[in-house]
Symmetry: none
Subunit: 215 residues, 2 copies
């Protein structure tokens, strides 16, 4: 994907935030208003550029026909403040493979009303965990994982990572040599060794909580 300019990144981030907040992509007018443009056409121009660069896909003559193409090179968490509407709870935005990494599509499945103060660190959204690689720390298949977007992760923290096409939950470790190890918390699963120079590793966020419904 071609690199985005700061302005274009803000447009992209707003689309993402709107998806999470409202369940649907924004219109040109909504983008213009949010970014302070007087004309919706400014937003239209940005969208064309984003589409040309491969960051999004546009549906022709389709209202709110904007799709995020996976793999935002940057963690995009510059202005998480955009996420503060709170009143309706958290969006469940997809599935995370916590085992053999499975393809994760970014979309909103539903919303769950969990207040900001339930987790020590407020979550920005929830992901449905798939797989059993983190059962050792009580994160089971089907659990909802509270995720807070972040731009950095410290040794030993549990984070949500994107490795190429896959999204996975693992415990993060980085050695002095720069090698990264994504550690599973289940003896049946091997750790994942990553060379940040070679592999495309993106931090999607930090795990801040778990919610499970017992049937």
């Amino acid at each position: 994907m071609e690199k985005l300019t700061p302005k274009q990144q803000r447009v992209y981030d707003f689309i993402r935030d709107t998806l999470i907040d409202t369940g649907a992509p924004p219109t040109r007018a909504e983008i213009a208003q949010a970014l302070g443009f007087a004309s919706a056409n400014a937003a239209q121009a940005h969208l064309r550029t984003l589409a040309r660069k491969g960051a999004i896909e546009l549906g022709s003559r389709r209202s709110r026909g904007i799709r995020l193409v996976n793999n935002s090179g940057e963690p995009a968490s510059v202005d998480t403040a955009a996420n503060d509407d709170t009143d309706d709870g958290l969006a469940v935005i997809g599935r995370v493979a916590a085992g053999e990494p499975i393809l994760a599509v970014e979309h909103i499945e539903r919303r769950v009303r969990i207040a900001d103060d339930v987790f020590a660190t407020p979550a920005d959204y929830l992901l449905t965990v798939r797989g059993d690689s983190m059962t050792g720390v009580g994160i089971l298949d089907g659990d909802l994982l509270g995720v807070k977007t972040a731009s950095e992760v410290h040794n030993g923290q549990i984070g949500v990572f994107r490795l190429g096409e896959d999204v996975t939950v693992k415990r993060f470790f980085k050695s002095d040599t720069g090698a990264v190890r994504l550690q599973a918390e289940n003896p049946a699963h091997a750790d994942i060794q990553v060379d940040p120079e070679q592999d495309e590793l993106v931090l999607e966020g930090l795990a801040v909580g778990v919610v499970r419904s017992i049937h």
Copy 2:
């Protein structure tokens, strides 16, 4: 959530599928076409019904303004006697002294705002888990356990039991002979054998959910 008719369920499913396929909810016309209606108004009527039943939320005059709410199934309970005061969240119960009712006001440590529909079965209160006897099923020391008061427990269900002076979380099994076994989900812990004739075993409630904050 009120129960949906088969037709209504098909509409709901289509909304979900469209969300997954295109990244945005469908329009009335798209719903009508997909389900074979000649008029978009048929879809509109269905949407109104779904909204009334709480399955979705509709945005006014907003294109594709459809949000899935939470399909976790069961209607909110009617008899939430334990939920005495304000709907300001669930009470977190701390240490319970021997012989005292678990729901006594003095045991309430704080309140956590978790909506009724977060767990498939709404919880009446939250209990702070002590010990690691249930780590095998992802219930860890320090977790908040959602508990629903109940008068009976079936084989295999996880419940909160009072055994004399102690309150414990275990999986329940009753044999044909009437002997009760409270099973730990951790190899390091032995099961507890109970003779209901002899021992004082009280069911405080059923485990309906888990909430954990990751630091």
